[in-house]
């Protein structure tokens, strides 16, 4: 299971110690991961643009022990081969014995509106298009991937314009799918699951979800779905992230969730939004924001007084103003790109659409994302 212990609860957010991660019958090394923390976003079992050779050598300085987030959307086309290989770790040559989490959507992939059905969730991949994932198909994927934990099924598709009836249907479906999924242990292999707290932008529906799942025995943690508010570039019917709206939306729901269970928000959120969600009581995120920035030709840095101002800055190498900027990328950062390359070179690579741009930006952005979480954890130690 995902065994967590609440260490501190402050005005600025919680800090927990996650003592173990994964099914009890397949124990891995003790975790002792402090939150707030993040799942490492992957596509095809890789941090995007980094082969494992590069990831292991260039990101060896990251502070947090990684838990790799693997999404169904990116792998369902090769599920049989993954099964044949003996799991995603072997198939994608991920580090031996690393921790993995299986989720439904690729936070940066297509998350469409209007395709979920009573029998299943619509999941999209670049090549094969749509696939319906239901309580029959999901166990097959879980068994093939062999992740340590999973996100449970949910009818996430509740954009701002969803009618009351549609919201009710979402809860009914989500309950039914998960009842079927968790009816026998064999379907999930006893893997700890994150129960869905959906409800779109309707507070009452959120609360109803929380009530429905707060007591289920299989919930090792909770997955608070905020896809529509995320920065995911291919999410349908997106909404602007407004702090007041989100605070109002999640307020009562968060109070209902037990203190010793981990709360996960998947999706791309910027540093300011992450700090805000931590304040609301969220413990775990994913690193898709760092990858999104790299995909867009951008590098980011949290402000020196990030803990108080919640600010961060972005270097956008699509901008010609860096054409002859001979200064290095970031002085404060110890990553290889920052120590080595100039802004003019990064600009040149982005300008020429060279793949190395995304490689270098991913290395920096992952370094900064990890440093940001270390800073946040540190500041929570000191907070009241």
């Amino acid at each position: 299971m995902v065994k967590a212990k609440l260490l501190r609860n402050t005005e600025r957010g919680r800090t927990c110690n996650i003592e173990s991660w994964g099914a009890e019958k397949e124990p891995k090394s003790p975790l002792n991961l402090q939150t707030p923390a993040y799942l490492t976003y992957t596509r095809f079992g890789h941090i995007p643009h980094l082969t494992w050779d590069v990831a292991q050598k260039e990101l060896s300085h990251l502070e947090q022990k990684p838990i790799y987030q693997v999404s169904m959307a990116a792998i369902f086309e090769c599920l049989l081969a993954i099964d044949e290989a003996g799991g995603i770790i072997k198939f994608a040559s991920m580090p031996e014995n690393c921790l993995t989490h299986l989720t439904i959507h690729d936070p940066l992939g297509r998350i469409a509106s209007g395709f979920n059905k009573t029998k299943g969730i619509a999941v999209w991949s670049a090549r094969a298009g749509r696939k319906d994932v239901c309580s029959e198909a999901y166990p097959v994927s879980i068994a093939a991937v062999k992740s340590d934990t999973i996100t449970a099924l949910s009818d996430y598709d509740l954009p701002f314009d969803a009618q009351k009836k549609r919201q009710g249907k979402s809860l009914t479906r989500t309950k039914a799918w998960n009842e079927a999924l968790f009816s026998e242990e064999s379907k999930t292999g006893g893997r700890p699951a994150f129960a869905p707290i959906c409800g779109g932008s309707n507070k009452d529906t959120r609360f109803a979800f929380a009530k429905a799942f707060v007591q289920v025995p299989w919930a090792s943690g909770f997955s608070i779905e905020l896809w529509h508010f995320s920065l995911g570039p291919k999410v349908d019917k997106k909404q602007v992230y407004e702090k007041d709206v989100i605070a109002e939306l999640l307020g009562e729901t968060m109070l209902l969730l037990p203190q010793d269970k981990v709360r996960l928000v998947e999706g791309a959120f910027n540093p300011t939004q992450i700090l805000h969600l931590i304040k609301l009581g969220v413990d775990l995120f994913d690193s898709s924001f760092a990858s999104l920035m790299a995909d867009e030709g951008k590098a980011f840095k949290i402000a020196d007084d990030f803990e108080s101002t919640w600010e961060f800055s972005v270097l956008d190498f699509n901008d010609a103003k860096f054409n002859d900027d001979t200064s290095k990328l970031y002085d404060h950062c110890s990553c290889y790109p920052c120590q080595t390359f100039t802004k003019a070179y990064l600009r040149h690579l982005v300008n020429c659409k060279e793949m190395l741009a995304m490689v270098l930006l991913t290395i920096h952005n992952m370094t900064e994302f990890d440093r940001m979480f270390a800073r946040i954890r540190e500041s929570l130690q000191l907070a009241q």
């Binding site: 596509r43 095809f44 890789h46 995007p48 643009h49 082969t51 494992w52 050779d53 590069v54 050598k57 260039e58 086309e77 090769c78 049989l80 081969a81 044949e84 290989a85 198939f91 994608a92 040559s93 670049a126 090549r127 054409n323 002859d324 001979t326 290889y336 080595t340 390359f341 100039t342 003019a344 070179y345 600009r347 040149h348 690579l349 300008n351 020429c352 060279e354 793949m355 190395l356 995304m358 490689v359």
Partner: protein
């Protein structure tokens, strides 16, 4: 002879083929050698460390592209192209002339310069021999190429003499502005189409300017393979009296072409082939492919958990064909993985070739190599057989 003095030591010679060590400013290079192409000052998504790990010690950058973006002045201010891209080893730059032929519309050659419309800005550009050397000096490459007048080899024979003579005159102009001779070498480029008399005349006129090395140009432009092989063979023969000059055949990168050229006496090759073909999911192999290529997007690889081939590269040590198959064209990953392997493969081929020359094992090497590329020695294309018989390797086929 020492590191960095740009001398060339021949350490073994067998028939026409030779193994050498080229002492370049950024380290020694063993020849025959393949040079991968990093057009924009980067090799297709690989970190410089990864390129070096394929054993690559010299790569090529394109003067035209870097002159356009980020600009020669910017590269100069960044400390040169080595520093800009964090590459510790050697770099060869082309003259920029060929890119204009391939990129520019309305290309026109006058006695003074190549003129063309920029494909980027559509402005009229003028590239003189002096300008080309000026850019290459700013880039700071170890080997600079002269500006030459390239005429496609598929043109009419009568069109080659004047461009060849112009290339000689341009070489003299390049040479006049070539000042930093301690850190940068200037290679002349032999022209003359497929005509032995013109090639011979060009060699005679250009050799006096060749202090470090020399290139054989104007080939790989779609000419028949027989003509290509014969011309390389003939040009190398003409250069035999000047054996201290490494010979660079431009634009050659197919495995069989490199082997034939090296056995004719050529030492250096470059081509976008291994990096370009990586983008389309093709791995280069010694055995089991089609003409040395494995097309990993094919369904036969869905459950193939073997590496691409027995190989020391990171890709083969880490990944299976099945994984590569599953990510081809979906992400940059397969491209990185195949680029690492394909460059490593070309350099491994060069290593095997050098070993065969050193150990006087060329015939057994050829038998294995050709059987791997074409299924069997009996099924090699006729131009390959002709070229090898002309080089006195008929034993391979008996």
């Amino acid at each position: 002879m020492t590191t960095g003095d740009m001398s060339f030591d021949i350490v073994a010679k067998r028939d026409r083929a030779r193994v050498g060590v080229f002492h370049l400013p950024h380290g020694d290079v063993e020849t025959p050698i393949f040079m991968p192409v990093g057009t924009q000052g980067t090799i297709k998504g690989l970190l410089p460390r990864q390129v070096a790990e394929t054993s690559c010690r010299i790569l090529l950058c394109n003067t035209y592209h870097l002159g356009h973006r980020p600009g020669a002045d910017v590269v100069k201010r960044l400390g040169g192209v080595h520093k800009m891209m964090d590459w510790k080893y050697n770099i060869l730059t082309d003259s920029g002339g060929f890119q204009m032929v391939s990129l520019g519309k309305l290309m026109q050659v006058t006695e003074n310069a190549v003129e063309f419309n920029s494909p980027h800005t559509n402005e009229r550009m003028v590239l003189t021999p002096e300008h080309s050397i000026g850019i290459q000096k700013d880039l700071g490459s170890d080997i600079m190429m002269q500006l030459d007048h390239v005429v496609p080899t598929v043109s009419d024979d009568s069109e080659f003499r004047e461009p060849m003579l112009r290339s000689v005159r341009w070489l003299e102009r390049c040479n006049n502005v070539h000042t930093n001779r301690d850190t940068q070498a200037l290679f002349p480029i032999i022209q003359g189409g497929l005509d032995p008399a013109l090639r011979q005349e060009c060699v005679e006129k250009m050799v006096p300017y060749a202090k470090v090395g020399i290139a054989i140009g104007g080939l790989s432009g779609g000419e028949a393979k027989d003509g290509f092989c014969a011309t390389v063979n003939f040009s190398c023969q003409q250069l035999e009296p000047y054996s201290h000059l490494p010979r660079y055949v431009m634009g050659v990168g197919w495995q069989t072409d490199m082997v034939i050229c090296a056995l004719s006496g050529a030492d250096m090759f470059d081509c976008v082939y291994p990096t370009r073909t990586a983008r389309f999911g093709t791995a280069l192999v010694f055995e089991g492919g089609t003409n040395g290529e494995l097309h990993l997007s094919r369904n036969e690889f869905v459950y193939d958990f073997k590496p691409i081939e027995e190989c020391d590269c990171h890709t083969c040590k880490t990944y299976t064909r099945a994984f590569l198959h599953s990510v081809i064209s979906k992400d940059t990953l397969s491209c990185h993985m195949l680029t690492v392997h394909n460059i490593h493969h070309q350099l491994e081929l060069m290593r095997r070739l050098r070993k065969a020359i050193k150990e006087d094992n060329i015939v057994p090497f050829l038998k294995t190599f050709l059987a791997g590329q074409f299924g069997s020695v009996a099924t090699v294309p006729s131009w390959v057989k002709t070229a090898l018989v002309n080089l006195d390797y008929q034993q391979v086929f008996s």
